[in-house]
Symmetry: C2
């Protein structure tokens, strides 16, 4: 496996969100020669949408995704997702990442929650298409099914794309998937489903690592190389499917990386990306 192109490294803002605001993250990426970035909307709002766009332009960063739309169980889901699409459009984001939401409070009806998600995305899809913002369904790890997303495998996400008419045969794909190794590395069908997704529908590729032991279900992700995910193998599958986009580092790490000097975090991301993914 050849080493990845360092120019394909992207930084998801969550990786240093506890240390830096968005202006600092953008300037940090520029300083460290990281050419892609995926900002979070709360940080975009704090900096201001126009100011964010201007600063991204100044440093010529590619926005590999806007985090995030989705959470279709919330009362204001439609307005919020419309705003997210507008923001993604303004920022020139390659996709809007959808974390679809889990069970509504008090409900145990996963099938109903999944049906509702299908309906919500079908409503949103024409607006996203018109805005030129592809929607990326991010299947989340099954341990997040109740609280954050009840789309939990790549197969399920692609079945949903198929059901909504986005089977990957169109030249411009308005709906696809974000493949985050943290959520899907364990899946016995991963290789097949990455191939099925294909170049058209893999809208983002997120990397980090799975720590052993994992001490928290949400915020204990590892830096590439510190865990058990076979990152070169999965990158091989993604590239074999035709994906040639960025590799976005997204690390939620309450116990480790969020406590470190963010310049050290960015240096480490670069080193590990080059040597261990």
């Amino acid at each position: 496996m050849a080493s990845p192109d360092p120019g394909k490294l992207s930084l998801n803002g969550a990786t240093v969100k506890k240390q830096w605001g968005l202006a600092q993250i953008i300037e940090g990426c520029a300083r460290h020669g990281i050419r892609g970035i995926a900002p979070w909307r709360d940080q975009v709002h704090a900096l201001g949408l126009k100011q964010t766009r201007a600063l991204l332009d100044t440093h010529e960063l590619t926005v590999t995704g806007l985090c995030r739309g989705g959470f279709f169980t919330a009362a204001n889901w439609l307005d919020d997702n419309r705003r997210a699409i507008e923001e993604a459009h303004t920022l020139g984001a390659q996709c809007l990442v959808l974390v679809v939401g889990g069970l509504p409070s008090g409900s145990k009806d996963l099938m109903h929650a999944r049906e509702r998600i299908r309906e919500c995305i079908s409503i949103l899809l024409p607006e996203a298409r018109q805005a030129g913002v592809p929607l990326a369904i991010e299947p989340l790890h099954p341990m997040q099914a109740a609280e954050r997303a009840c789309i939990n495998t790549l197969e399920q996400a692609l079945d949903l794309c198929d059901a909504l008419g986005e089977d990957g045969t169109k030249a411009q794909c308005a709906l696809g998937v974000a493949v985050d190794v943290y959520h899907v590395w364990w899946d016995p069908k991963l290789q097949d489903q990455i191939a099925r997704a294909g170049r058209q529908r893999i809208l983002a590729y997120h990397i980090c690592d799975w720590l052993v032991p994992t001490r928290d279900l949400l915020n204990d992700r590892g830096m590439m190389g510190d865990g058990v995910i076979d990152l070169p193998r999965i990158r091989g599958w993604v590239e074999a499917a035709g994906y040639a986009g960025f590799h976005e580092v997204e690390i939620f790490s309450e116990l480790d990386w969020w406590k470190r000097d963010p310049d050290e975090v960015l240096r480490t991301c670069k080193e590990r990306h080059a040597s261990l993914t």
Copy 2:
């Protein structure tokens, strides 16, 4: 959905293993009118195999499973699993539960680990068949893939049964699955795969609940009714597949149930089983 038959309640020994030894667990089940039990091998060894058998006979308990065989990545896997089959035979267990093991230390090669598991089970299967002890592959939640079991969906477990010639068409099934709601509740293909498993291959049905939030990846299971698993619905699927066996309560709960009076735990299991599963 009709309430379940109280006579089908079984207690997995892990549920009160921090409070009681096996003799106390057996006597506790008898005292509370719980007719099934699934002991753990360390507790069987501590009590003695013959003594365990004698005490089970005294109280006429059904052994709904012996926990556990598997861990095929261990050096002594073959000897240990042979002993487990003998013990299950001696105890008249309805199955030997296989927790198949995760990644070997230092490895990131899930595909190889899974291939090894297939080979180990194929070696064990004739011996289990001869001893009249069905092997129950327990797919574990994907969050346990690295450390405990890299069989992580019911579909994957059934594919393995198929590959080893146990497609569920024989009158006597030597290899099947243990369906534990905690591990599989999130699976979008659960209903289909339970139907596929069928009466012949569902060798055990384990219940508990998924807590929100879940504070630990291993030992924070909930009592039935305290979480978000739609237990009556899943029981409906299992019964529709023809399963008519026990409902085994297995709760690992460092923070709650392991700290309580075990008689209270057993009373609660009975009440919740009758009203909420």
